[in-house]
């Protein structure tokens, strides 16, 4: 019987993510008093999309299931707020709680079908669902206003202003990220990583593959829908493009940029993505796709573990080494070497 003391590394691994999140939240709260309004909107968008990307990465990075259909749940969350307000005059707070439930329910149905297939076909099927929901939102004019989308005062006055709006989005995002992080270090999170590593083996030790994948899909769908609802707090509108495959691809790209194999990778990716998008598009809208494409090629070739992966490779002393160790917490795959 060995006595197993928690190593310094394990303690760092446990506290790395929540401490980083708390520091980040404190920083955003502090600067919200001094920065210009455009920054407040920028941070709102980063947080909503960051949550979307982390929730998507539960499937992509943790479970090894590449879904190009997560915008279905993101868009449904957004439309839940917008249409609930427009058609039923339902209170925002109720709709905010219903959004993840709707996301979970939709994910249960779509996942039950899509997870019957594997890898490539799974990715294609999720993409097809994304286009299907986009088309419905676009064509069902009587209910959704079609391509015009839904606009109006659907957000309570208290959080409709930029600064309180940011605080609200910040608080909900942090709670959601902590919940997601707890999931990733739970027995289920471990099982999900084992599924990514070796499906045959995990089945042989007694895990029902299909059921656990579906479970991951439903959880991811719920958090994606919550992110969509937060996007409405930011944008105060919902429109069909929130559901389409381009929107589905964004969180996957963000996760790739920031690092698939770190809990916070997609959040960092969302920051870089939105920053580049908003400021480069402002500079010249034609070149955005070109720059994005080029950046992705470079990342896939030279930094397959994303920006956080580069940091972790550093090690050693100094600021780089320190950051490297901080970011070690939350790593859920340690590439060889």
């Amino acid at each position: 019987m060995t006595v197993h003391k928690p190593s310094a590394r394990r303690v760092g691994e446990f506290w790395g993510v929540p401490v980083t999140l708390a520091l980040g939240a404190a920083l955003i709260f502090a600067i919200s008093f001094v920065v210009p309004t455009t920054w407040l909107f920028f941070l709102q968008k980063v947080l909503a999309l960051g949550l979307f990307a982390v929730a998507t990465n539960l499937l992509v990075g943790y479970g090894g299931m590449v879904s190009f259909g997560q915008a279905v749940f993101y868009g449904l969350g957004a439309y839940m707020i917008a249409l609930g307000w427009q058609h039923y005059g339902a209170p925002f707070w109720l709709l905010l709680m219903l959004a993840p439930l709707l996301g979970a329910l939709a994910a249960l149905v779509i996942g039950a079908l899509a997870l019957r297939t594997r890898e490539f076909y799974f990715a294609l099927l999720t993409l097809a669902f994304s286009q299907l929901f986009y088309t419905i939102a676009n064509k069902w004019y009587d209910f959704t206003n079609g391509a015009n989308g839904v606009f109006g005062p659907m957000i309570p006055g208290a959080i409709a202003m930029p600064r309180p709006g940011l605080w609200f989005i910040l608080a909900v995002t942090m709670l959601a990220l902590l919940a997601l992080w707890a999931i990733t270090i739970s027995p289920f999170g471990l099982t999900l990583r084992a599924i990514r590593e070796n499906q045959q083996r995990v089945e042989a030790v007694g895990v029902n593959l299909y059921r656990h994948k579906l479970y991951a899909f439903v959880l991811s769908g719920a958090f994606c829908a919550l992110a969509g609802a937060l996007f409405v707090v930011h944008d105060q509108s919902a429109y069909p493009e929130l559901l389409d495959w381009m929107q589905s691809g964004e969180p996957v790209l963000m996760a790739l940029i920031g690092g698939l194999y770190h809990f916070l990778g997609p959040l960092v990716g969302a920051f870089i993505f939105v920053f580049a998008h908003d400021y480069l598009v402002a500079a010249s809208s034609d070149t955005w796709q070109l720059i994005l494409g080029l950046a992705l090629v470079l990342i896939v070739l030279f930094a397959p573990n994303g920006v956080l992966g580069l940091w972790r490779q550093g090690g050693g002393g100094g600021l780089k080494g320190l950051l490297g160790r901080v970011f070690q917490g939350g790593t859920h795959e340690r590439p060889d070497g």
Partner: protein, 249 residues
């Protein structure tokens, strides 16, 4: 008492019958070997027993209950687990995490979202790693282990499910003599201390004869001999198709 009964198993791939009416029984607490030349149908037989393949006909009884064609995860829950011929681990998980995952599955905790529920599994995993001699490697990434340690981890993953019967597909394949010896010791120790029945197939005859209580010999999909080692060693048909060939080589 028989823990496993295989009755008239047939697996046909088109016109080719890889397993052609195999029947035998595995006694509780024994070490039972299945031997035979390459292509005799041993691995196919194992895949039929574990539910990875569906038999064309025949039945598999576990503790007297019909479990034919149940999927692998159900077989594991019922007490029959396998270790694989090709090392089959979780490359980027640590040794400890890998074993934890298997223990959580047995405890039906794989779906738990509560981080603190990891603790039970972690403690049991550390005890088990200690018992198999891998505790020093607990924090090592599985894919960076030596071949022998990977094989041991493979068997440990199977053990973590607390099987009543453990199927080992060529457990010492590609191992150094020292590693082979360690694996044999491990298998022997298991049957005694943990009351695990072992069914294994193996090429290495020294290993087979040194630890088996009973042997089933296969040739071209059929059983040609079944009995204790000394009886099988003296069997003329076995000598001609298998052991004899080795002497000529």
């Amino acid at each position: 008492m028989n823990v496993l009964t295989v009755d008239g198993l047939v697996k046909a791939f088109g016109g080719f019958r890889a397993v052609d009416g195999v029947s035998f029984e595995v006694e509780q607490g024994s070490i039972h070997a299945v031997i035979g030349p390459n292509g005799a149908g041993k691995t196919t037989l194992f895949n039929l027993i574990t539910g990875h393949l569906r038999p064309t006909s025949g039945t598999v009884l576990l503790q007297g209950k019909d479990v034919t064609s149940r999927p692998p995860n159900v077989m594991s829950r019922r007490g029959l687990t396998r270790a694989f011929q090709v090392t089959n681990i979780f490359p980027n998980l640590t040794v400890l995490e890998s074993v934890e995952c298997a223990i959580d599955a047995r405890k039906r905790m794989s779906g738990s979202l509560l981080p603190w529920r990891r603790r039970e599994g972690r403690e049991e995993a550390l005890e088990l790693l200690d018992a198999v001699g891998l505790s020093e490697m607990a924090e090592t990434i599985a894919s960076t282990l030596s071949h022998g340690d990977q094989r041991t981890l493979e068997v440990t993953l199977a053990l973590a499910t607390r099987p009543q019967i453990l199927l080992l597909d060529e457990p010492t394949a590609g191992m150094s003599p020292w590693e082979t010896e360690r694996m044999i010791k491990l298998v022997r120790e298991l049957t005694r201390s943990r009351d695990v029945t072992v069914l294994f197939c193996e090429h290495d005859m020294d290993t087979v004869f040194s630890i088996s209580d009973r042997l089933t010999v296969m040739h071209r999909g059929r059983v040609i001999a079944d009995g204790p080692p000394e009886q099988v060693r003296a069997d003329e048909q076995v000598i001609s198709v298998y052991l004899g060939r080795k002497e000529h080589a």
